[in-house]
């Protein structure tokens, strides 16, 4: 009995929600359901006219529906009282207030979810088009610390003021932040490119190694209360261990079994999904921050505004990149790595232990990705999908530099980082990734082997 009532309710609600624009009467209505499409009852929704006069307040019924009939056509503001939402649910796009233009019976949609899509809550009421409402990218805030971060970051106000001034200062600031961002991409890209070079695997889970670093540092810093720099070192070590363990437990046995590269590529997507959802499971969908360096006062040189944390993390990243490069050039293991990347069979026949080299590459790749994750999180906070969004830029960098080459990855990463940041001079910040990804496709079209790659690699 109860069952059929529940079912009927569910179906009714689905029916109503898809009926959206069928009626003729004048009014606003809608159906609230959560991310699992279960109706949400008991949420109060208020409709006011543009002058601010309240017209009606209704609560959603058991089937999640609500409706407010209206007398005259015009603009109305529909607001959802977020405090009446069931615990754990929020309006995904952070727009609990909608401005609707009513000429018939209109539907107002509040997408409910357990987390926001990275938007900011304090957009203007009825905020039809927030300037940057679409920013779900963790890196969005690297330089200009978008509106997204403005609330709790003193640096943000400073930089957005500079943005307002425009011109040369802004260009220089964007250039510097682009270089910083490029270094972060480079840290992740070197590992990805070397894994590709030595094993041929395009690892779609590499972005989630970045997230892993950020999350581990969060664990040590926030949960265990250690200073950020200790947590960062611990996270990098754990990242190395994670890379090592992944190769030991998953990829190396798969290579021994002779699993095809295509299967491995799809497995890597599965691993990415696994890590991402495990992160979401444990830390939730919020953007979390470390205990230190959050609202840092930036250095203002007049021609350049930069936060000290950006300078420090950037310099460390640069030093590490140079160190890795030197090691690749001059140490025995580095030479062995390059030999394996060049031709695994030939390398094996000259006595190089290919599996050992691959293990080393995974360990190093894991450590560098974790470092990138920690540094990015120091600037922008940790979010479960930060690595996923970075991954495509890392791919762009690696392809631009030439798949399989460590130095190409570095050059490509710097170019992509600067390009992404400087492109905001011309295009809307929310479209800056689109530009970078378009560059990726254009490179595929014109020079698929990348800047430093060699023709024969691509077959």
């Amino acid at each position: 009995m109860l069952l059929s009532a529940a079912l009927a309710g569910l179906l009714l609600c689905l029916g109503v929600s898809s009926n959206a624009s069928a009626q003729e009467a004048l009014g606003v209505h809608g159906t609230l359901d959560d991310q699992q499409e279960q109706p949400v009852a008991g949420v109060s929704i208020t409709v006011t006219d543009t002058a601010g006069t309240e017209i009606a307040t209704v609560t959603t019924g058991d089937d999640g529906t609500w409706a407010v009939p209206l007398e005259t056509e015009g603009d109305y503001i529909v607001s959802l009282d977020e405090s009446t939402l069931p615990e754990g649910l929020v309006v995904r796009n952070c727009k609990p207030q909608l401005e609707v233009h009513v000429t018939s019976d209109r539907a107002a949609l509040f997408p409910l979810d357990t987390q926001t899509d990275g938007c900011t809550a304090e957009e203007a009421p009825g905020g039809g088009t927030p300037t940057d409402g679409a920013s779900d990218d963790p890196t969005e805030a690297t330089s200009e610390e978008t509106e997204d971060e403005a609330a709790d970051d003193a640096a943000a106000d400073e930089v957005s003021e500079v943005q307002g001034e425009g011109g040369a200062t802004r260009a220089v600031t964007l250039l510097v932040s682009g270089l910083h961002f490029g270094l972060m991409i480079a840290l992740a890209a070197v590992g990805l490119s070397m894994v590709f070079g030595t094993t041929g695997l395009t690892n779609f889970a590499h972005g989630d190694l970045v997230t892993f670093g950020g999350v581990m540092a969060l664990l040590f810093n926030v949960t265990l209360g250690l200073p950020v720099w200790v947590a960062a070192i611990a996270a990098v070590l754990l990242g190395a261990a994670f890379g090592w363990a992944q190769d030991w437990g998953l990829w190396s046995p798969l290579r021994r079994r002779g699993t095809g590269l295509v299967s491995m590529m799809i497995i890597s997507i599965g691993v990415a999904l696994l890590i991402r959802n495990a992160t979401l499971f444990f830390i939730g969908g919020e953007r979390l921050r470390y205990s230190d360096y959050v609202g840092q006062t930036p250095w203002d040189f007049g021609w350049l505004v930069v936060t000290p944390k950006e300078v420090v993390t950037g310099l460390i990243a640069l030093a590490v990149c140079i160190l890795v490069g030197v090691a690749m050039m001059y140490t025995r293991l580095g030479k062995a790595t390059r030999a394996v990347a060049d031709n695994p069979s030939l390398a094996a026949s000259t006595g190089i232990d290919v599996n050992k080299v691959v293990r080393l590459v995974w360990t190093m790749g894991g450590a560098l990705a974790a470092m990138s994750g920690v540094f990015l999180s120091i600037s922008d906070g940790v979010k479960f999908d930060m690595g996923q969004h970075l991954l495509l830029l890392v791919f762009a960098a690696v392809v631009l530099g030439g798949l399989g080459t460590a130095f190409g990855a570095f050059v490509g990463a710097m170019l992509i980082g600067v390009f992404v940041q400087l492109s905001t001079l011309v295009v809307a910040p929310e479209l800056k990734y689109v530009g970078a990804l378009a560059v990726l496709i254009i490179i595929m079209l014109t020079r698929p082997q990348g800047i430093l790659g060699r023709r024969e690699r691509i077959g």
């Binding site: 898809s18 997507i269 999904l273 378009a438 595929m444 698929p448």
Partner: protein
């Protein structure tokens, strides 16, 4: 805890509208990945092309429904050509990277605020499905009973005694159209694959050079497979948009593509009925896990300290990701696949 409800829900969904979306998308992917060996990681973008083509056509440009369908299909074709021309001559993993990047471009463009007046930005669009539902041949009031199938004022109910499947007026229509499309494309696929054309595709998957040495234009065959698979992906997009009566950019993420792969590999790649079986099983497993866990939390079988209701989603997807990895390692042929057909490699 109500096991009957959980099972009924999961069974309802296992042959319901969303499953049909996955089945259609996976049929397209089967042609590209299963038979031709093309790693299309942007099937979500093809679905988005269909869905947005339809929505923009009807809502923004005020075209008749069928013209909007043509626009959606055309957009998918154009996208397949744009992606295919630069990458199909290159190695398989380049196509993978380009398609995954293209899918992300499409999603970000769709949610961009620049033209949000037309596309609705991240809120998406609605109000394009009325012409489709106006086509429903039976009226809202129709009521009949045939054995264990009955229709009660437009709603379809299938009563198996222990389980009862119920579909709303609109869902029933989506299912009629969806199953017709699935059967149509499955039939087309069966005919194509057993034609000389299909044998060339399989040959390309096994050894591109050998096929080229026989004088076949490998590039053209790959392109045809990519376009046709993309069109079927766009059809999946139509069904997806119509079943939800809205389009939202963030439903077309890379994860969406990945679920098509899960469906395909679960059922068995390079098998005619693989996608359909896989979609039914995948969507059944997803629903039984998420419904079961939600019910268990509601009935206090699982205390809230162990798992709260907002964590159910991530946990289910975590289990699906894990299941996918284990499936590919231990049973890469899926339910009905042939292991020999999946040994192809990046060349």
């Amino acid at each position: 805890m109500d096991w009957q409800f959980v099972f009924s829900q999961a069974l309802t969904q296992a042959i319901g509208p969303t499953m049909l979306v996955y089945a259609l998308g996976a049929i397209g992917l089967n042609l590209q990945f299963g038979y031709t060996g093309l790693l299309n990681f942007g099937q979500a973008a093809f679905a988005a092309m269909g869905a947005y083509g339809l929505a923009l056509g009807v809502v923004a440009w005020g075209l008749p429904f069928w013209w909007a369908v043509v626009i959606g299909l055309g957009a998918a074709c154009v996208m397949a050509l744009l992606l295919g021309i630069p990458t199909l001559r290159l190695r398989a993993d380049y196509l993978a990277i380009v398609t995954i990047a293209a899918a992300e471009i499409v999603r970000r463009l769709a949610r961009a605020t620049v033209w949000a007046d037309t596309t609705g930005g991240s809120d998406g669009m609605r109000g394009f499905s009325e012409p489709f539902f106006a086509l429903i041949p039976w009226d809202r009031e129709s009521t009949w009973t045939l054995l264990f199938v009955s229709m009660d004022s437009g709603r379809l109910a299938v009563d198996f005694g222990i389980f009862e499947l119920q579909y709303s007026y609109r869902d029933t229509w989506i299912m009629v159209v969806g199953w017709a499309l699935v059967l149509f494309f499955t039939g087309i696929m069966a005919l194509l694959i057993h034609s000389p054309w299909g044998r060339v595709l399989k040959g390309i998957r096994e050894d591109e050079e050998a096929v080229r040495s026989l004088g076949k234009n490998v590039f053209a065959f790959k392109m045809q497979a990519l376009v046709l698979g993309g069109i079927i992906g766009a059809v999946a997009g139509f069904l997806f948009a119509l079943s939800r009566a809205n389009v939202q950019p963030d439903t077309f993420t890379t994860d969406f593509t990945f679920y098509f792969y899960v469906v395909l590999i679960l059922g068995g790649a390079a098998r005619i009925f693989g996608p359909v079986l896989g979609a039914a099983l995948f969507w059944f497993l997803y629903n039984i896990l998420s419904q079961g866990l939600s019910q268990a939390i509601r009935a206090d079988v699982i205390p809230p300290s162990v798992l709260d209701s907002t964590q159910v989603g991530p946990l289910v997807f975590l289990l699906l990701g894990l299941g996918m990895v284990l499936l590919l390692i231990f049973r890469p042929q899926g339910l009905i696949g042939n292991k020999k057909e999946l040994l192809f490699d990046v060349r």
